[in-house]
């Protein structure tokens, strides 16, 4: 701290002045910010309304604000200088104890300001982190929801397709089964018919050639008895 003057009072005064100058700049910047904000609003109005009148009014307003800010800044700086001068004057009449108290107060104030600043920074940081966390969480939720819906849709379509394919396969299977049954039935009838034809022919062949005259005679007499039993000859005999 060798670049500072050795006199404590002078240091305090310088610090106070510096503080006031900074405050003036802050006020000036605030007015500039306000001016620019209003300017942008007017520009937007102009964009939407599209009238020269609005632009002119905006320019006028901006000019007024700028001038007002300039005046206020000038006034503040002037007041600051005056206050610094007053302080300087008061300092000269102050005792060592008072000077020490003032120094402590300023230090405390600076410390408080620093603390408030740090608190705000921390709060801002915390809020930013919270917002980031919320944003991440929201994105996560939104993504999960989207993925869930997509999965659901995919599943529904897959299940639906599966069901359709199953139905088609079942119908095809039933048709094939019916055709097979028809074919089986037809073939079985043909087979039956062929089998009976073969059996009949074999039996016919065997019986036709196999009976001797005595067997024929026996069969004829049995048939005549049968005919009589069936009343073919009526009351004759």
């Amino acid at each position: 701290m060798e670049f500072l003057p050795a006199d404590l009072v002078l240091n305090i005064v310088m610090l106070g002045l510096l503080f006031l100058i900074l405050l003036g700049f802050v006020v000036l910047l605030t007015f500039i910010y306000k001016f620019l904000t209003n300017w942008l609003e007017y520009l937007q109005k102009e964009k939407t309304a599209g009238t020269e009148q609005i632009r002119h009014e905006a320019q006028q307003e901006a000019q007024n604000i700028l001038e007002s800010a300039n005046k206020e800044a000038t006034q503040i700086i002037s007041d600051t200088g005056k206050k610094a001068s007053d302080i300087l004057e008061e300092m000269e009449g102050m005792s060592e104890e008072s000077k020490q108290k003032l120094s402590d107060t300023l230090s405390k104030t600076s410390a408080n300001l620093l603390k408030i600043y740090e608190t705000n920074i921390k709060k801002q940081k915390s809020e930013s982190l919270q917002a980031l966390a919320n944003l991440t969480e929201n994105i996560d939720k939104s993504l999960s929801k989207e993925v869930g819906e997509f999965e659901k849709l995919l599943r529904e379509e897959t299940v639906e397709s599966k069901e359709k394919i199953r139905e088609k396969l079942l119908k095809k299977y039933e048709k094939l089964d019916n055709e097979l049954q028809d074919y089986k039935s037809r073939r079985m009838k043909e087979l039956d018919s062929s089998l009976y034809d073969i059996l009949y022919n074999v039996t016919e062949e065997v019986l036709g050639k196999g009976l001797n005259m005595d067997e024929h005679r026996k069969l004829i007499l049995e048939s005549l008895d049968d005919a009589k039993k069936r009343d073919l000859f009526g009351n004759s005999g």
Partner: protein
């Protein structure tokens, strides 16, 4: 005289009828000819049967009038025969014909003669028609019945 028993079959009856009609015609053509001389000219297989019938009926061959009446009587009897139509599977021998004819004579009517046709396709048994009624009692028919009802599977 049981003419049907002697003739047995319709074919024999028809043959005898033709023989008798022929004889009757020959006798009427030349009335001076004796029955004996006309018969001697005949070579038909029915001649012996006819002579047997005359003998059984105690009619003398020299009695032309009685013989002429007898001829008419035979024709009438043949015309009045009842006929049983039989279809058999084999060509029947005399023994089979006699057996069947005897059965008919004994169990149905003495004035029935047989009309027999042969059809090997019936395999065995008979198809019989009598007075407009018909029965198929052939082996072929029975087999068809069995095969149609699929009873063969149970055999």
């Amino acid at each position: 005289m049981n003419l049907a028993k002697k003739l047995r079959t319709y074919d024999n009856a028809v043959e005898l009828k033709y023989f008798v009609e022929d004889l009757k015609l020959n006798l009427s053509k030349d009335k001076r000819k004796s029955v004996k001389s006309v018969l001697e000219e005949e070579s038909n297989g029915m001649k012996d049967l006819f002579l047997d019938l005359l003998n059984e009926s105690n009619i003398s061959i020299s009695d032309s009038s009685a013989v002429t009446d007898f001829l008419g009587d035979i024709i009438n009897k043949i015309n009045n025969f009842e006929r049983v139509n039989l279809v058999v599977a084999v060509d029947p021998d005399e023994d089979l014909i006699k057996t069947v004819a005897d059965w008919i004579q004994d169990k149905v009517d003495k004035s029935i003669i047989l009309k027999i046709d042969v059809d090997p396709d019936i395999l065995g048994g008979i198809k019989v028609t009598y007075k407009g009624k018909y029965l198929d009692l052939s082996l072929n028919n029975k087999l068809n019945g069995i095969f149609k009802s699929k009873d063969i599977l149970k055999i």
